[in-house]
């Protein structure tokens, strides 16, 4: 009787919590991991494990010894970060590479900013950008699924030789779309299988961990802009990291705007930047940098896109 809890309302709470959401996202990424192992072999599992283990250890060590705060690795956010990083790098990288990337993701992009909730940039994408700058050769060596032959990714062919060569590479348009959709193409570990990415995304929608605003505006903008610039909209969406980025990376709660309108703007911005980078910049793929660039605008969007409070009349 003497131990009654006294706290401010509300006294009840729905069941969602940070660990539930983060582990939910991890669960949604599981089918993609299976696809990665199927297409790229057990080595892919090694890459993911190296990334995840490094992320978890980094977070735990920094929280415990540097900041002397409670260790929160069990909430799964470090694991999510590690998986996403591993999914966005080529399958044939040496195993130390994802580990270094995860270290940078967690140490610099996440903990330096104050930990989960305060990071301005998507940690996994910072890790990837770091790796791409530091080891460009390893980060742009793509191997074919199943047989492991290296060569250019579809987007690389598009950049260098034009769209007709891409179609030629796949055989015809139908096989191109099916291969891209199933994931039987060269590309990053977790980017290739649109089908299983969508399966995971459906789970996130079902759990309401993500809303439609960012994915739809992101993919819609890419399709629209590539159609307007004479490209193939379906190819633009299915190739590269678009699907992974739209459903799992750009939708990161911490680094995207909080309001729905803001999220629409964010998605449109990312989409437009992806098309711009693919068309005009040095890289064949631009999801990573597009997301990071829009991350910088998130605080601005949140500052100007606010809900109109109940009963407040616009002057």
């Amino acid at each position: 009787m003497d131990k009654l809890v006294v706290s401010t309302s509300a006294h009840i709470k729905d069941s969602d919590s940070i660990p539930r959401i983060m582990w939910g996202v991890n669960l949604a990424l599981l089918p993609v991991l299976i696809a990665a192992v199927y297409f790229f072999g057990l080595y892919a599992l090694g890459v993911v494990l190296s990334s995840v283990i490094s992320a978890v250890i980094t977070e735990a060590v920094i929280q415990k010894f540097l900041f002397k705060k409670p260790v929160t690795v069990s909430d799964g956010s470090a694991v999510t970060c590690g998986i996403l990083l591993a999914f966005s790098i080529p399958p044939s990288v040496p195993l130390w590479l994802p580990a270094v990337g995860s270290f940078v993701s967690i140490a610099i992009a996440k903990q330096c900013f104050g930990g989960l909730g305060w990071n301005v940039f998507n940690p996994a994408m910072i890790g990837r950008a770091f790796l791409l700058i530091c080891w460009p050769v390893e980060m742009t060596t793509w191997t074919s699924p199943l047989d492991g032959v290296t060569g250019a990714s579809p987007l690389g062919i598009l950049k260098e030789e034009g769209f007709s060569k891409v179609v030629e590479f796949f055989g015809n348009r139908t096989t191109m779309y099916t291969d891209l959709f199933i994931g039987n193409v060269r590309g990053s570990l977790g980017e290739t299988s649109c089908l299983l990415l969508l399966v995971g995304a459906c789970y996130l929608f079902y759990k309401k961990y993500i809303s439609w605003h960012i994915p739809v505006s992101f993919l819609g903008t890419i399709a629209l802009l590539s159609w307007m610039t004479g490209g193939d909209p379906l190819f633009a969406i299915l190739s590269g990291g678009c699907i992974l980025g739209a459903f799992f990376i750009a939708t990161d709660m911490v680094t995207s705007p909080v309001t729905k309108t803001g999220q629409l703007i964010f998605g449109i911005g990312v989409g437009a930047l992806v098309v711009l980078i693919r068309a005009k910049a040095g890289y064949p793929e631009g999801v990573c940098y597009a997301v990071l660039l829009m991350n910088t605008l998130t605080p601005l969007i949140d500052r100007y896109i606010k809900p109109k409070p109940f009963g407040v009349v616009k002057k």
Partner: protein, 198 residues
């Protein structure tokens, strides 16, 4: 006197504590050699500008002190550039525009305004030496770390061996930016620990 000298090296290190002169520290600290060269140039410029400005501080009309200081600094920098070009062309080539840019380095004008214009020649000399040396040491430190991680060597000598995959970002300004940030954090942390023990 010694205190003024040491002040610039650690307690008010231009890069890590005052966060001044960040532009050159990001741009030309990519190798230890460049860092050292830049550091020595600045050491010369800031020391002589401090000495000259402090010795003429009572002659200059307060209304035009900034243009006057800038003229003095510009003369010194131009001299440095000319001599480097003539006698150390290699360094001149790798430092490039940043030698001329020393004119507008915040740290030089800041010390002139904050310190030299209010203190005696001797004190200003010490301050200039301390600040210059602090800057030079910081630049060499940055240069060593960046060269080691970015090219696997220090002062051109390969250290990391052939299998080392250089961390290329360290050769770019973003890498330097990260490094400066981390070192600043380290210095803050160190000072906080240090003062707590007192």
């Amino acid at each position: 006197m010694l205190k003024i000298f040491l002040n610039g090296i650690f307690k008010e290190n231009p890069i890590f504590r005052l966060a001044l002169a960040l532009c050159p520290s990001l741009a030309v600290s990519n190798t230890a050699f460049n860092g050292l060269g830049m550091g020595l140039c600045l050491l010369f410029v800031i020391t002589s500008s401090n000495v000259i400005i402090s010795s003429v501080r009572n002659l200059i009309h307060p209304k035009i002190r900034i243009p006057a200081y800038l003229t003095i600094i510009a003369v010194l920098v131009t001299m440095v550039e000319a001599f480097l070009h003539a006698y150390v062309p290699a360094l001149h080539k790798s430092l490039g525009i940043f030698i001329a840019l020393m004119v507008v380095f915040a740290i030089v004008l800041a010390r002139a305004e904050v310190f030299a214009s209010k203190n005696t020649v001797w004190k200003s000399l010490m301050d200039g030496l301390g600040m210059g040396l602090g800057f030079a040491l910081a630049m060499v430190l940055l240069g060593i770390i960046r060269e080691l991680l970015g090219s696997g060597s220090v002062f051109g000598y390969n250290i990391m061996g052939q299998n080392f995959k250089p961390i290329l970002i360290m050769l770019f300004s973003p890498g330097a930016f990260l490094l400066v940030g981390l070192l600043m954090g380290f210095f803050n942390w160190y000072e906080r620990r240090f003062t707590k023990n007192l």
